[in-house]
């Protein structure tokens, strides 16, 4: 059983047509899993269900062997889940350090150790810690967003399209940041539009179509699969 897994998830908005149909996603610690697929396939919805922003009508979410399906977002975050939204994932008119402090808002213990770890992982954040996040470049802003999410000492990081709308050069920078986060023995699950690039670095890949698992495998297997290549990667 993987560290975080969503099993046979069925979910819909406003009880209408289900967006997820028996969809299963799992990710192990120290692993990067990627959810790819066409628009409207339910990629972000799957992530919302794992986080608890949307409740599944059937299926279960298991974290470290414990069923967390009925817990609130807050509760799941305190159990080790962290989420980086696709847009508006920082507090632009606050400094880098304040962003990180707000990330640790619910913690009552000393956060200086975690702060040091984040600065260790992203040295540029340390250099700019007194600068407003709104003044940072796209890549640095994304690091601040990752850093904020890491302040709760999460074991699982959920990233919603972390490279949406950034320049190709910055995209590589963000992917290498994500690999670094993975190395710190965390489970990382991301939804990604740039399927080919994401699968190249992924340990696991899930190709969703209409809320179903169309293909599952390691990143390399999926990249080598002619059908996946033809339908999703443009040959």
């Amino acid at each position: 059983m993987a560290y975080l897994s969503g099993k046979n998830l069925v979910a819909s908005y406003d009880n209408s047509v289900p967006i997820l149909n028996q969809c299963s996603i799992e990710v192990e610690k120290g692993e990067l899993a990627v959810i790819v697929g066409p628009n409207g396939a339910g990629k972000s919805t799957a992530m919302k269900v794992l986080l608890g922003m949307l409740t599944a009508s059937s299926g279960s979410v298991i974290l470290a062997g414990k069923d967390i399906s009925s817990l609130s977002v807050q509760k799941r975050i305190s159990l080790g889940l962290a989420f980086v939204p696709q847009t508006d994932n920082v507090f632009p008119s606050m400094t880098v350090e304040e962003n990180l402090e707000i990330g640790a808002f619910l913690r009552t213990d000393d956060i200086s150790q975690t702060l040091a770890e984040v600065y260790d992982l992203f040295p540029v954040l340390h250099d700019r810690r007194n600068q407003l996040v709104g003044q940072l470049s796209g890549g640095q802003r994304q690091q601040a967003a990752f850093g904020r999410a890491m302040m709760t000492k999460p074991t699982v990081m959920l990233l919603d399209e972390p490279t949406a709308g950034v320049a190709p050069k910055v995209m590589d920078e963000i992917f290498s940041n994500i690999l670094q986060i993975k190395k710190s023995d965390r489970a990382v699950l991301m939804v990604e539009q740039n399927a080919r690039k994401a699968l190249e670095i992924a340990d696991r890949g899930f190709v969703l179509v209409s809320g179903r698992n169309e293909h599952t495998g390691t990143g390399k297997e999926l990249l080598a699969d002619p059908e996946v290549r033809r339908s999703f990667l443009g040959g």
Partner: protein, 340 residues
């Protein structure tokens, strides 16, 4: 060339009739504007009830002051109203929390558009204004007691030997001192404390703040506490300076809003600067410069008229014109606030 004493006299004249009054009026506006800007930044609506809430808090202060005076509890060296202030802050807080619970909370939970909440605040403004007139009527009340001046014009004249006097009113000194302390406290609170940072985070990105575990109800509550403190103190200081009248408090809304927009909506620093921009513009444009020029100009150039740009009855026009100019030329204001 004018002589040195003439120059000194002209400077003292301006200090006495323009600078000091503008400084204390500006401090009062700044506190009111800070309350408006906090509500806008965190609760996301322009609070039209601000002026009348200031009146309500002042009415409570006046009632308590009268009680204290009747019981002969007066400090003597300062206005009795200052003793009444803490209780008035609590009364004002209870009032705004009640209004929030029964009015704004409903629209917040419905996720109403800001304009809907603004309209609700117009309703709160009328109800509060009615309540104020119901308790104290529309008349002018003077509730300051104790010594009126720190230094009178006559004392100043005999000390310096100048023809012009610089009078420092107790209310002016109180206003400026309290305003500095209070603004310092609010800024420290917002910048350095965990709750203050949570409020800024909530104002900056509400969804992410919720995701980070910030309790929205607490943020709303603390915002109203700050607003109650600022509103009560602004209202009482204004009243000590100029006396209380329900209608003139109601009309304070315009210069307060103008101050907020000039400074940049939602920016606390902008509200302070905006307050002084408005007060100094009002004073400088409605002052009659005749006497000032008599000191400085040679006889042949001396003016026959008052040399007043605008009559004092037009002082609200000054706020209004500044408001229009800022909205046309730099809608984000001095400190790059949000645009409505």
């Amino acid at each position: 060339m004018p002589e040195l004493t003439d120059i000194m006299n002209s400077i003292v004249l301006l200090l006495n009739f323009v600078f000091l009054p503008a400084l204390s009026y500006g401090s009062q506006l700044a506190l009111g504007a800070l309350a408006v800007t906090l509500v806008y930044a965190i609760l996301r609506f322009a609070n039209f009830a601000q002026g009348d809430t200031m009146a309500f808090a002042t009415v409570i202060t006046i009632l308590i002051t009268w009680l204290l005076q009747k019981a002969d509890i007066t400090p003597g060296f300062m206005p009795t109203a200052l003793l009444a202030l803490p209780l008035a802050v609590i009364a004002c807080l209870l009032y705004v929390l009640m209004v929030d619970k029964f009015v704004y909370n409903y629209y917040r939970k419905q996720n109403s558009k800001p304009i809907t909440i603004v309209m609700a605040s117009v309703g709160v403004m009328f109800v509060t204004g009615g309540l104020v007139r119901f308790i104290l009527g529309p008349e002018h009340h003077i509730f300051s007691d104790g010594p009126r001046f720190i230094i009178t014009a006559r004392e100043f004249k005999s000390m310096t030997g100048l023809a012009e006097g610089l009078a420092i009113k107790t209310s002016q000194l109180l206003t400026i001192t309290i305003a500095i302390l209070l603004v310092g406290f609010v800024f420290y609170f917002l910048q350095k404390t965990k709750t203050g940072k949570a409020m800024r985070a909530y104002s900056d990105n509400k969804d992410l703040a919720l995701l980070s575990g910030i309790d929205p109800d607490r943020v709303v509550r603390v915002t109203w506490i700050l607003v109650a403190v600022l509103t009560t103190i602004a209202g009482v200081l204004y009243g000590l300076d100029k006396g209380f009248m329900a209608n003139s408090y109601h009309q304070l809304l315009l210069p307060c809003f103008a101050a907020v927009i000039v400074g940049g909506i939602g920016s606390p620093m902008g509200a302070i600067v905006g307050g002084f921009v408005i007060s100094f513009s009002e004073m400088l444009l409605t002052y009659a410069y005749k006497k000032f020029l008599l000191y400085l100009l040679p006889e042949i150039l001396q003016p026959s008229g008052l040399v007043q740009f605008l009559g004092t009855e037009y002082k609200f026009a000054v706020s209004f014109v500044i408001l229009v100019i800022v909205l046309l030329l730099k809608p984000t204001g001095i400190f790059k606030g949000k645009v409505i």
